[in-house]
């Protein structure tokens, strides 16, 4: 018997395509016209998923206005419906979608702002870890430092944009209404949730390359070299201090076990 499978296939098809009539099994049931009743399901699905996207992308919504956002979200949901019942992280590809969304072409930074907002939600739900303080690094013998691998915090997400994405976010979200937005400057930012609150930090030049290298599995010495190739006057001590202050380091793996220091 395939009746249940057929009915669910019909029902799903009609949910996905508003131009289709309600499934025949539904239509024949009651003498009343059924379209409005079936539309409750279409509406529940669309409205609830739009709300999920509104909750994840409030700054994108503010930048384009509520009506525009809803219209864009609708197109996105039809193109990329959720594939998991866990909706906490739905919208991973919304930024990429906005990049190519013709009506948003006048707001070229929208996709980057969306990727930043998704990174924030992703950091919010990421695994927990106690951040290390810089004293842990001080306990690593000098000779081993260059070969030490860093495990960065599981919530760390790096965002890089040719637009001032972090300042745009700060100015629009209300986090820092005075934030200066210089549209001629790109920005690198780190999103991180060391404890309960999600942090957004603008990274100094070289910071992105340094952290990306550490996250990519390069030991400290190599990561510093890579960063120095990216910016001329890369100040390793300063970047290390910033990294620990941010709470971005979860563990250190020196090449050999650390000797306990008195």
């Amino acid at each position: 018997m395939r009746r249940l499978a057929d009915l669910q296939a019909d029902f799903a098809a009609a949910l996905n395509d508003p131009a289709l009539p309600a499934p025949a099994d539904v239509r024949r049931q009651v003498k009343l016209p059924q379209s409005r009743r079936f539309d409750v399901y279409r509406n529940n699905m669309m409205v609830s998923l739009i709300e999920v996207l509104e909750a994840t992308f409030p700054v994108v919504q503010r930048l384009v206005g509520s009506d525009f956002f809803k219209a864009a979200a609708k197109v996105y949901i039809r193109q990329a419906p959720p594939r998991s019942p866990v909706l906490l992280l739905y919208g991973e590809t919304f930024g990429d979608f906005l990049d190519g969304f013709e009506p948003a072409a006048g707001v070229p930074y929208l996709g980057d702002v969306a990727r930043l907002e998704w990174a924030r939600v992703n950091a919010y739900h990421a695994a927990d870890a106690e951040p290390l303080t810089i004293e842990h690094l001080a306990a690593v013998p000098q000779a081993q430092l260059a070969q030490t691998h860093f495990t960065l915090h599981p919530s760390l997400r790096l965002v890089s944009s040719r637009f001032p994405v972090a300042s745009l976010w700060a100015a629009t979200s209300g986090a820092d209404p005075q934030a200066e937005v210089d549209m001629k400057r790109g920005e690198d930012a780190a999103v991180l949730r060391p404890m309960l609150a999600v942090d957004l930090r603008l990274l100094p030049p070289g910071g992105h390359a340094f952290m990306a290298a550490l996250a990519g599995g390069h030991p400290l010495g190599e990561a510093a070299d890579l960063a120095a190739r990216a910016v001329e006057d890369f100040d390793l001590a300063c970047h290390l201090q910033g990294l620990f202050q941010l709470g971005a380091v979860a563990a250190l793996q020196p090449p050999e076990p650390i000797q306990e220091q008195a």
């Binding site: 018997m1 009746r3 249940l4 499978a5 009915l7 669910q8 296939a9 029902f11 799903a12 949910l15 996905n16 309600a22 025949a24 099994d25 539904v26 024949r28 049931q29 009651v30 009343l32 016209p33 059924q34 379209s35 409005r36 009743r37 079936f38 409750v40 399901y41 529940n44 699905m45 609830s48 998923l49 999920v52 419906p81 959720p82 594939r83 998991s84 019942p85 866990v86 909706l87 906490l88 992280l89 919010y124 739900h125 990421a126 695994a127 927990d128 599981p154 919530s155 949730r193 309960l196």
Partner: protein
Amino acid sequence: MAVSAEIPARAGVGLKAQHYDAILGSRPDVGWFEVHAENYMGAGGPPHHYLEAIRRDYPISLHGVGLSIGAERPLDEDHLARLKALNARYQPGLVSEHLAWSTHNDVFFNDLLPLPYTGEAVERVSDHIDRLQEVLDRRILLENPSTYVAFESSEMSELDFLQAVSLRSGCGLLLDVNNVLVSATNQGYSAEAYIDAFPMALVGEIHLGGHARDRDDAGQPLLIDAHDRRIDDKVWTLYARAIARAGVKPTLIEWDNNLPGWRELFAEARTADRLMSAQDALRRDRRKGLEAGHATVG
């Protein structure tokens, strides 16, 4: 985990992130809290932090909204594993899901879609509940749905369907009184008769929530299970009727959209607690009356 897992026959409240601080700050006299399982399926972060803190002081009920028990296709084993992990971590006093489906060809519709009440669907749903109960190693409760359409192919009533599933799978039932009113209004049957015929011995929990009113194409009333406002007086009346038959049961206040402040939500819980106390008192009086009657006769 400090307090026992057991859900008392009192009012509980659906837990929302917006109320974490109010709850932890005032430790209100609420019997228990219910969470939507899918909201706690992230790896870490504030949701788990707050739920752990609340679980230290209150029993928790785990309510799934995304397993798609009514789908023809097999259950999503990854999702079952996530439910199993939550069940182990928070030791909920009750676990429940819906008589509905929500996934087709891997697309998740984020809505509770209706089933035809057929023998084939009884088998499918029962098999899926078997699997869920096997994975969790516990009995679950299945909730009666809100429906907006019915199917030509249905062969039995919703009540017969629920009883058949319970008989085959051994699951208990979650009686959502608002869903009863919504479905009865939309399908044109008596909500009172439904409550009067509901197999109360199988009921482990009751849900109460608010609904929105609309009209269908023919101008007939169409109720929507919106959970976006206070509980309707008609639902309170049906609830009193249900507990007069069933006795007091763990009763959840559901408010998921257009959220009120904590105090307004708490007030709804107090109303449910008062109705349960009144029902308890009535039962005690009746028992005393019976005993007194026997004494005089004897």
